[in-house]
């Protein structure tokens, strides 16, 4: 089972598209229909609200504005679907492996203005939320852009079974000079929007973003002043720099090298 998050960014709207069909036929379909929920952490419990159903072969777009009125504006709303009835309040995140497929069961997460839209196909995997109790992040990105009219943000999404809203340090560095370009705090169980206004990015090296206390999905968002042009894409985890063999050992070496340097 996967979760799809709805970012909150001033001046923009967001939506997620969920589908009740797998991408390949070798995966079995889910019972029809599935029940759609929105969930958020209030710091003590996970609040779950039933918001509709999705039939077999259906694709539905859920807008931030469509959510129930009691979804708080200062918390991140995550959409998921499940075949069971789920209580309105749970002390642990509702998890299930009934959608475990490779490639993963994706959704489309979109940011849009009155003029244009940008999206990426992704998800927050159940396995990532369930098994990574205290993770770390190293994200190498060439996607920050310099320019008079260009603004850069990093969306860093985290989910854990425990409804904690614990905070962790998050830094972005120039790995060649070790200069710290940006330092901030990020919150667990949240789609954190980190604003890099005023930061000039190096052109001859990627940026390296580090979180020692929290794993998550980093997505890079660039836009102009008026949101008439936008770009939105995530970075791969370091395991994808290689394929086959012991990619985890290679990632471990990479993480140890850089985490020990900056955190």
């Amino acid at each position: 089972m996967n979760y799809y998050f709805l970012p909150r960014i001033l001046g923009l709207k967001s939506s997620v598209t969920i589908t009740n069909f797998p991408c390949l036929d070798k995966f079995k379909s889910l019972p029809d229909p599935q029940r759609i929920y929105v969930t958020w952490s209030d710091g003590v419990n996970w609040q779950n609200r039933f918001i509709g159903e999705i039939a077999l072969n259906q694709a539905i777009k859920i807008h931030l504005d469509d959510l129930p009125e009691d979804c708080p504006l200062d918390k991140t709303s995550f959409v998921f679907f499940h075949y069971k009835e789920i209580p309105e309040k749970t002390d642990r995140l509702v998890t299930s492996d009934h959608m475990f497929y490779m490639p993963t069961w994706r959704g489309n997460i979109e940011l849009y203005s009155d003029y244009t839209a940008t999206s990426y196909s992704g998800e927050y995997q159940h396995e990532m939320a369930y098994y990574i109790k205290k993770g770390t992040l190293i994200s190498l990105s060439p996607m920050f852009q310099n320019g008079a009219n260009i603004h850069n943000k990093l969306l860093f999404v985290n989910m854990t079974p425990d409804p904690t809203l614990e905070k962790h340090e998050f830094i972005t560095v120039n790995p060649k000079t070790d200069d710290i370009l940006h330092r901030t705090e990020v919150c667990a169980n949240t789609c954190n929007v980190i604003d890099f206004s005023g930061v000039e990015f190096p052109e001859d090296v990627v940026t390296l973003s580090v979180s020692k206390g929290m794993a998550g999905v980093p997505i890079y968002f660039s836009h102009n002043d008026t949101f008439t042009q936008m770009s939105f894409e995530h970075t791969h985890p370091p395991t994808s720099f290689v394929q086959y063999g012991d990619a985890i050992a290679i990632q471990r070496n990479l993480k140890q090298s850089w985490l020990s340097k900056y955190v």
Binding site: T17, I18, T19, F21, P22, C23, L24, D25, K26, N57, Q58, A59, K61, P103, R106, G107, N108, Y115, T116, A117, T118, S119, S121, L140, P142, M143, Q145, G147, N149, I150, P175, K176, E203, V205, V206, S222, H223, N224, T228, Q229, M230, S231, E233, H234, T235, H236, S240, F241, V242, Q243, Y244, G245, D246, A247, A249, I250, N253, L254, S257, W258
Partner: protein
């Protein structure tokens, strides 16, 4: 039992066994292990270059981030194909440890070529360290697209491990997984929110492949079908006029196991690029 299953998985992923699985249609792999351990793997990325479009690769020495103690420089070979699948150029770049270069694809290919694909092969001494883990260095890329009304690049990463090349040989080989029968791929998204869009498919397989596209309305009824043959290493662009917003979803059928398109959706002032 767990030990037994992991051994079965290991054997099933031996390079020759993977190829036999494809021939026998026994759960064909999405991508194939290169036949030699000295190979480097790359996605096959789409480029668009014209008066209207530019494409930029953010090429960085990512192997040096895996082993920063080695301070390793590398040589990167870019191989370009036109839409018909003909190789139209190769270009090499030297990168210092941790270095990044922004490569404008229009500087690397003849001016007359507006659509095609390219791969990136990283060569350095770090291949030996990666080999010891039983792995292959793999370029998954970050490619930026800009049209003539843009101030910024819109990024999309690669979506298919496609080709491999040995350091010692010129030949580029396909490592994409294929099935004996046609398989369906259904992108998990909606395409009904823009007036026009383009689907771009590359064919990294070692032979011509047929592609069947099916488009559906909101009730999941077929609205349109389209059939095309894409040559080996070729690129195909399919334009869709959806001004009546009739088409909601689509699927593609072909022998490539995970045949994902790059999608360009057009809005009032800009475009969105994503992998399906």
């Amino acid at each position: 039992m767990k030990k037994y299953l992991s051994k079965v998985k290991l054997v099933a992923n031996f390079p020759l066994i993977q190829r036999a699985r494809a021939v026998l249609n026994l759960n064909p792999a999405q991508d194939l292990k290169p036949l030699s351990k000295s190979h480097i793997v790359s996605d096959l990325f789409v480029f668009r270059c014209s008066d209207d479009w530019s494409t930029e690769l953010s090429l960085f020495n990512f192997p040096s981030y895996m082993y920063p103690d080695a301070m390793c420089q590398e040589s990167c070979l870019l191989v370009f194909y036109d839409a018909s699948g003909f190789e139209v150029g190769r270009k090499s770049y030297e990168l210092a440890s941790l270095e990044m270069k922004r490569i404008s694809i229009s500087d690397c290919i003849p001016k007359s070529i507006m659509l095609g694909s390219f791969s990136v092969f990283h060569h350095s001494t770090l291949i030996e360290r990666v080999k010891k883990q039983g792995s292959y260095i793999t370029e998954r890329g970050y490619v930026g697209y800009k049209n003539n009304s843009s101030d910024l690049y819109s990024y999309c990463h690669g979506n298919m491990k496609a080709l491999s090349k040995s350091v010692h040989q010129n030949r580029v080989r396909s490592v994409v997984g294929r099935s004996k029968v046609k398989l369906r791929y259904r992108p998990q998204l909606l395409i009904s929110d823009s007036d026009s869009l383009e689907l771009i498919y590359v064919n990294p397989s070692p032979s011509q492949e047929s592609l069947l596209l099916k488009f559906f309305d909101k009730q999941h009824q077929i609205v349109e079908e389209h059939f095309v043959e894409i040559p080996k290493f070729g690129t195909y662009l399919h334009k869709i006029d959806n001004s009546e917003r009739l088409i909601h979803t689509f699927e593609n059928w072909g022998r490539i196991v995970l045949w994902r398109p790059v999608i360009f959706k057009y809005y009032k002032t800009h475009f969105d690029v994503l992998h399906g």
